[in-house]
């Protein structure tokens, strides 16, 4: 298991860079993971991240699109190049396993 330091905290991460323990996550850590992915987090991003953290089980792009926080197009715009994976990584939760 690899380790990475975000916002002054050393954390266990998976091979793909997802946090192992999502309870260690905080907004500062999110900002640094996002920076690695080339994303500058805004309030809108944080609203989506909050939804994702609260609805981890069976998370799909479709559910995020129906969350009322962002539509699917907006979700792709916020996290370009793989919204579900990127947002999960930044939200400090497990890598998504959904095909939809």
């Amino acid at each position: 298991m690899a380790q990475k330091t975000y916002a002054g905290v050393t954390l266990e991460v998976t091979e793909d860079g997802y946090l192992v323990d999502s309870t260690k996550w905080n907004e500062e850590i999110a900002k640094e993971i996002a920076k690695e992915e080339g994303i500058e987090l805004t309030d809108k991003h944080f609203a989506v991240l909050k939804y994702i953290r609260e609805n981890q089980a069976g998370l799909t792009i479709r559910k995020v699109g129906k969350s009322g926080i962002v539509d699917i197009k907006g979700f792709y715009d916020l996290f370009p190049g793989g919204p579900l994976k990127l947002s999960s990584k930044i939200a400090g939760i497990n890598k998504p396993t959904s095909c939809v």
Binding site: T60, K73, C99
Partner: protein, 167 residues
């Protein structure tokens, strides 16, 4: 492990030529999966696959209950082909499949196309098949960018890391 230099898939060009639930969804899941991974996806619907982008039929696709050896009853018993001949059985089985998919958060065709195009995926219709079925652009869903020839589709499908997939 030996070090291999794989070129990552960057673009998929998917051709969907059949109109059953399973054939259409195979194409849609692959296209959506590609855009979810940040890849380019282009889907070309031809022959009976056109049903998936024809307004009148797109949300009423069926699966074959006759001549489908993989068809089983709920519980796993083989589905007798003769049963599939009874009027209404195919509709019932198809409706059941659609409801099972909905439980897995797999959307109806129209919404699935919304998702794919929202992610930047592109939908095309085959000119030859559109002419053959006497359809017009207005009969097709608005997701369709254009009605094009297979040659034009191939010309959009090139580049390093591109794959053409036929379902």
């Amino acid at each position: 492990m030996t070090e291999k230099k794989d070129i990552k898939v960057k673009k998929v060009a998917i051709i969907c030529a059949k109109g059953t639930i399973e054939d259409v969804y195979a194409a849609l899941v692959m296209a959506n999966g590609a855009v979810m991974e940040g890849m380019e996806a282009k889907v070309f619907f031809t022959f009976f696959g056109l049903d998936a982008i024809t307004k009148k039929y797109m949300n009423k696709l069926h699966t074959a209950t006759v001549g489908n050896p993989a068809m089983r009853m709920p519980g796993g018993l083989p589905f007798p082909t003769l049963l599939g001949l009874i009027p209404g059985v195919e509709a019932g089985v198809s409706a059941m499949m659609r409801s099972q998919m909905d439980k897995l958060d797999i959307p109806p065709v129209e919404e699935f196309l919304d998702m794919i195009t929202a992610g930047g995926g592109e939908i095309y219709a085959c000119k030859l098949a559109v002419d053959m079925f006497k359809l017009e652009k207005k009969d097709l869903t608005d997701h369709v960018i254009d009605i094009i020839t297979i040659g034009e589709f191939y010309n959009m499908a090139g580049g390093e890391g591109s794959q053409i997939i036929f379902t």
